[in-house]
């Protein structure tokens, strides 16, 4: 897969995620209207005998689908917001600050970012520092022209210049092939999914407790007495969807993230022509096991290593394949050492 295919792929996936997000919101909203306001998208016509003895088609007046309309507006608003404000939201959530050129170590960081953007042939991203002693880094933004790189203060302190170069090179390739767009949008929308399914779940509990007699069986409504078996199935699916949505979106984010780390490692080695520097940087990052407190769960998939400091990254096998946001460090380091070995021959 070359860089152009990666870029096209990421742009396509970003649009797809936005589409899925809107569809998901519509599904929740429609379900809400269907079960609580008695709104049907395709109303059944009712036949009634009029005064002259003919059957006449009479369309029931529909309730206004408030839920659907609201979720439609809300979801589009959130998609647009995630495109415009996503990077800033992500940065704010980590309490990152701009690196300053007065401090010699931070000046070095700025210089390294400039060098790596030269090597990758993209405009220089803005450089940020996160107040945390753990070792971690991520990149965010909507396009290479509007991109940000953030590292923890611990990383700046522990790594030497070449290792820092390698880590920034890794982030540069995330920027260059538009991983950042996909990741940022996923992060911004993932938070919203959690919020809405929480809300829908609560509404359900509220309805359930306040007497089912008045709610569902409004007799003459489109449903005509109770829930049919088909309705019941749809209702169950809807509830499951509401409950599982946050989990699904998390799994999606993880699946998106894992493959990309190998690719970014490889392009970092290509940019710096020095795979061993990244290997030793990853060794250091792995050795620092404490979780990165500045980074919360919502943007775990954007970081160079799992900020939760969990040991799942170290495991290989099915569980790790499904639940880890990053490939095992062991494998990544090994892949880089293989590159160095092949180069040296």
């Amino acid at each position: 897969m070359n860089i152009y295919e990666q870029q096209a792929n990421n742009k396509r996936l970003s649009v797809f995620i936005m589409g899925v997000f809107v569809a998901f919101f519509l599904f929740i909203g429609l379900g809400f209207d269907y079960f609580y306001i008695n709104f049907t998208p395709v109303p059944e016509p009712e036949y009634s005998m009029n005064d002259y003895g003919y059957y006449e088609v009479e369309m029931k007046r529909q309730a206004i689908p408030y839920g659907t309309l609201l979720t439609l507006i809300l979801s589009f608003g959130m998609v647009i917001n995630s495109m415009i404000n996503g990077p800033r939201m992500v940065l704010r959530s980590t309490m990152a600050r701009r690196a300053v050129s007065t401090d010699i170590k931070e000046k070095q960081f700025l210089n390294v970012v400039a060098e790596m953007s030269t090597a990758a042939g993209i405009p220089m991203p803005q450089a940020y520092l996160m107040p945390d002693i753990d070792l971690n880094a991520f990149a965010t933004g909507f396009s290479p022209q509007d991109s940000h790189v953030a590292i923890t203060e611990g990383l700046l302190k522990e790594l030497n210049r070449e290792e820092l170069q390698a880590v920034i090179g890794h982030e540069m390739s995330h920027i260059k092939n538009y991983d950042i767009r996909l990741m940022t949008i996923t992060a911004a929308l993932m938070g919203a999914v959690g919020l809405v399914s929480d809300f829908a779940g609560r509404a359900m509990r509220f309805r359930g407790s306040s007497g089912s007699s008045s709610g569902r069986s409004s007799g003459s409504g489109g449903r005509r007495g109770g829930l049919g078996p088909l309705m019941l199935v749809i209702f169950v699916v809807w509830i499951l969807f509401v409950i599982l949505a946050p989990l699904i979106s998390r799994l999606l984010a993880m699946a998106i993230s894992r493959k990309r780390e190998y690719l970014a490692d490889a392009s970092s080695a290509e940019i710096t022509r020095n795979p061993l520097a990244l290997a030793s940087a990853l060794e250091k990052i792995r050795a620092a096991v404490s979780p990165t407190y500045a980074v919360n769960n919502g943007i775990a998939h954007m970081c160079i290593t799992d900020p939760r400091g969990s040991l799942i990254e170290e495991k290989m096998g099915l569980a790790a394949d499904v639940f880890a946001t990053h490939p095992p460090m062991e494998k990544r380091i090994l892949a880089l050492k293989m590159m160095a070995y092949q180069n040296s021959r």
Partner: protein
């Protein structure tokens, strides 16, 4: 007849696509080359500052410092002349002289503790890396450009459309950088 016309139209469209691709690459190559130039200028400006600030400490390394100054003067005059081969050669020599200065500076703990010198060293390392990386980017783009001109159907008309091969930025054949560095462990 119509089939021939359609085929001709398709070929024309394809030639236009290749032409546009080549033009865009050509401009990228030119831009990458300008970037190297910017960094080289920056290096020329930084060196006198560095030499002045380390002069006091490194009295015993007069020869090294003088070599750096000389190499810089040669490089500046070469870039004024605009002769490509000469620029490559003189800049190569300057890179080498600077590398030697950096290596020697490691022996002076006072120097390494000095904040001002440290900042200057960082600046120069930064510039050296920038030169290296912009050269790398230039070479990658130029190679890409050259390959696009040389692959089979393109090579039939690339020359006719006025495209020429770009020269890769490499060290001149007789450069000292090609030699393996000699390490002297006697103090």
């Amino acid at each position: 007849m119509t089939v021939a016309l359609i085929a001709l139209g398709a070929i024309a469209l394809w030639v236009i696509a290749v032409f546009n691709k080549l033009i865009s690459l050509k401009n990228k190559v030119a831009n990458a080359f300008k970037q190297i130039d910017v960094q080289l200028k920056r290096r020329h400006d930084l060196i006198p500052n560095l030499v002045n600030s380390v002069k006091g400490e490194m009295k015993f390394e007069k020869e090294t410092l003088e070599k750096v100054i000389q190499a810089r003067t040669a490089a500046v005059s070469a870039s004024a002349s605009g002769n490509m081969n000469e620029i490559l050669q003189k800049e190569g020599m300057l890179t080498q002289a600077l590398g030697r200065l950096f290596a020697v500076a490691e022996n002076y703990p006072n120097l390494k503790a000095n904040e001002a010198v440290k900042a200057l060293m960082e600046e120069l390392t930064h510039t050296e890396n920038q030169i290296g990386f912009s050269r790398q980017l230039y070479n990658d783009l130029a190679t890409d450009f050259n390959i696009k001109q040389q692959v089979f159907p393109n090579n039939l008309f690339a020359g006719a459309l006025g495209f020429t091969q770009s020269i890769l930025w490499e060290l001149p054949a007789d450069s000292k950088e090609r030699e393996t560095p000699k390490v002297n462990l006697t103090v």
